[in-house]
């Protein structure tokens, strides 16, 4: 039916009483997702949304009381790593960080901790995970997709919305949409999502949406050519740009290699992936 989350997922929200946390928790509730509670340190014991959701001081208390197994994080960037580590420590299976712009070295600490755990981190700077009509763990606009059999994986949140919108206009449904996040350092990558989608019986085809910087798409290309059995369609934005124009975009966040610019499209094509040169092409490639 879906990857990462499903109808039985018990979703909690870290930072549920903040401006963004409160707003989007209500949106998720409205779309019928199974939200079981949230944390807001110092406000444990209170309730929000007219008594619909309990607030806890810690993830530990929330998990003990609600059996939450998915956590969506809205806390500010400076405390996001702490929130992720708290979720890892308390056995949350799928951790989704909507917050982005996390200090780089905080994320390095998180990456190291993830290696020694069973938790999966989606993001940071992720729009979340959406299973249309079933569960919305994040900030996807609720009307954006209908149920179906296409798996969608995107680095960029806004581009993911664009693609979902395009699919919906073409009357194509989605099994799960995953925004893996566009921060310099992120958790789950294309490769792991491809693996999950390939084993998901309710997904027939997979769309990946990539962009410049890093080697995420290249790793995906070699994985697809060796392992993935389902058809994959890809749209890589920014390949028209000259590396010289792009470089400054990346200088802010370290030394992410741009060597791959232009190579992503060709490596994916060689791996048998159908390449869309613009968004509008994706539906017709899916119909092939």
């Amino acid at each position: 039916m879906s990857i990462l989350i499903n109808a039985d997922s018990r979703i909690m929200v870290q930072g549920i009483s903040g401006r963004r946390g409160r707003f989007h928790s209500l949106q998720m509730l409205k779309t019928g997702s199974q939200i079981v509670g949230g944390t807001s340190p110092g406000r444990g014991g209170e309730w929000c949304f007219e008594g619909r959701l309990p607030i806890f001081d810690t993830v530990r208390e929330c998990v003990e009381a609600t059996n939450a197994d998915v956590s969506v994080i809205f806390v500010p960037p400076h405390s996001t790593a702490d929130a992720i580590l708290e979720s890892i420590d308390n056995g949350i299976k799928t951790i989704i960080s909507i917050t982005g712009s996390i200090p780089l070295q905080d994320m390095m600490i998180v990456k190291s901790a993830l290696k020694n755990s069973d938790s999966i981190l989606v993001g940071p700077n992720s729009p979340g995970v959406l299973v249309p009509g079933i569960a919305n763990a994040g900030i996807f606009p609720s009307h954006i997709a209908r149920q179906g059999s296409i798996g969608v994986i995107s680095r960029s949140g806004t581009l993911c919305y664009e693609v979902l919108d395009t699919l919906k206009q073409a009357d194509i449904g989605v099994s799960t949409a995953v925004g893996i996040g566009d921060d310099p350092i992120t958790g789950i990558d294309f490769l792991s999502c491809l693996e999950l989608f390939d084993f998901d019986p309710h997904t027939d085809k997979i769309v990946i949406i990539g962009g410049p910087g890093g080697d995420n798409e290249l790793k995906a290309a070699s994985y697809i050519s060796e392992h993935v059995t389902k058809p994959v369609i890809a749209y890589i934005v920014g390949e028209r740009l000259a590396a010289s124009l792009l470089r400054p975009f990346f200088s802010k966040s370290g030394t992410r290699s741009l060597d791959s610019l232009g190579k992503k499209t060709s490596s994916l094509a060689e791996a048998g992936v159908l390449m869309a040169t613009e968004l509008a092409e994706i539906p017709s490639l899916l119909h092939r």
Partner: protein, 381 residues
């Protein structure tokens, strides 16, 4: 944020890494006085964040007092990438036998710090490109354990570096790593680290880049660098938590999310047009940051037309609308604003904007870019 050489060196010196004696000077008279104190020969090094300093003549060895004014005046006249040179680092010059490259960098794909070491051919004070083609050995570091002596030894043994130097290398690398951690650096680089004739290692040149996303916790020490190392736009962007990037065109762009930034860029490039600037307001921007971002585009002299391309998830369209209206109420130059606004709370807010005569609405990125480029070309004729 990139640090200038003298700023990076002050941090490394404080950390106990051996460096040649040096001092900063901001005019030719100062250069001469400082050089006399340090003792000839000296190296004069233009302080700049722009690349290509060596090739442009910004690094010069001066043997005696006779040449010093002439050389420093020439360096002060240099303009690199439109930025003039305001200061010169005057440094004791000495002879050395071997050069090394030693750095702590960041591997964003793996999400770890990386220790890099290389033996550089051809000792030179000029642009450190001589190490291209040299063998660089590297070691990923688990940040939760830190850099260990054995990891440094592995690299030194691999390159067959003389074991009498190992202890010095280990001390320097560990101090660099401590600086990397303490200052939230993305890069701490010594290029080059030289072996003096007395078998002592010295750092001749140093680079430190600090993670912008961590500047908030770096305090006043780093804040003091921001005014000299950032442009007005970069400081505004940092203050209001947006990304700002200059381009050579005349269409000012405001988008949310890097993906939409690339999509918009792709669309403009396919029409052979370029932005003047691209501002990414990120997810969840407040009306204040949106208003400030728009203000930056309205006051930019190169920007003739503004396009706003927002698909709201975290970004609420009502916040965007409020921010736009705030900026339009300000006393800024009037420019046409083409806008596309979709997503969370989208429908409810369009009405509040529709009545504004400065704004024109579009429903897709393609239509938005086409219209902006058509307007811009019409304006030129």
């Amino acid at each position: 944020m990139k640090l200038q050489e003298y700023q990076a060196k002050s941090i490394l010196r404080e950390a106990g890494i051996p460096l040649p004696t040096s001092a900063l000077a901001t005019n030719a008279v100062q250069v001469k006085r400082v050089a006399a104190e340090i003792g000839y020969p000296v190296v004069l090094k233009a302080q700049t964040l722009e690349p290509g300093r060596g090739r442009a003549g910004g690094v010069r060895i001066v043997q005696n007092e006779d040449e010093i004014e002439n050389v420093s005046n020439k360096i002060f006249k240099l303009v690199l990438n439109q930025r003039p040179v305001h200061s010169i680092l005057v440094e004791k010059a000495f002879t050395f036998s071997k050069e090394y490259y030693l750095a702590i960098t960041s591997d964003l794909d793996a999400g770890t710090p990386v220790l890099q070491l290389s033996e550089v051919g051809g000792a030179t004070y000029l642009e450190p490109e001589s190490f291209k083609g040299a063998v660089v050995v590297e070691r990923h570091i688990d940040i939760n354990y830190g850099l260990k002596d054995y990891q440094i030894r592995e690299l030194m043994a691999n390159l067959r570096i003389n074991p009498t130097l190992w202890k010095q290398f280990q001390q320097i690398a560990k101090k660099m790593y401590a600086v990397y951690r303490q200052f939230d650096a993305t890069l701490v680089e010594i290029n080059s680290l030289v072996e003096s004739t007395q078998d002592q290692l010295f750092a001749l040149d140093a680079k430190i880049n600090i993670d912008n996303q961590s500047l908030f916790r770096q305090g006043s020490f780093c804040e003091s660098f921001e005014s000299s190392n950032f442009s007005w736009e970069e400081r505004q962007a940092l203050k209001f938590d947006v990304d700002y990037q200059n381009f050579p065109g005349d269409i000012g762009c405001m988008v949310n999310g890097m993906g939409l930034a690339y999509l918009t860029l792709d669309q403009l490039l396919s029409l052979s047009a370029l932005p003047s600037a691209m501002i990414d307001i990120h997810g969840g921007a407040t009306s204040t940051s949106i208003s400030s971002a728009l203000e930056m585009l309205l006051v930019s002299p190169r920007t003739k037309i503004v396009i706003i391309n927002i698909y709201g998830g975290m970004t609420r369209c009502d916040e965007v609308a409020e921010g736009i209206l705030q900026a339009l109420e300000g006393n800024f130059p009037k420019k046409p604003i083409f806008i596309r606004l979709e997503g969370t709370n989208g429908d409810s807010v369009l009405e509040s904007l529709f009545s504004n005569e400065n704004l024109t609405f579009f429903s897709t990125t393609e239509a938005l870019a086409n219209a902006a480029v058509a307007w811009q070309r019409g304006d030129e004729q």
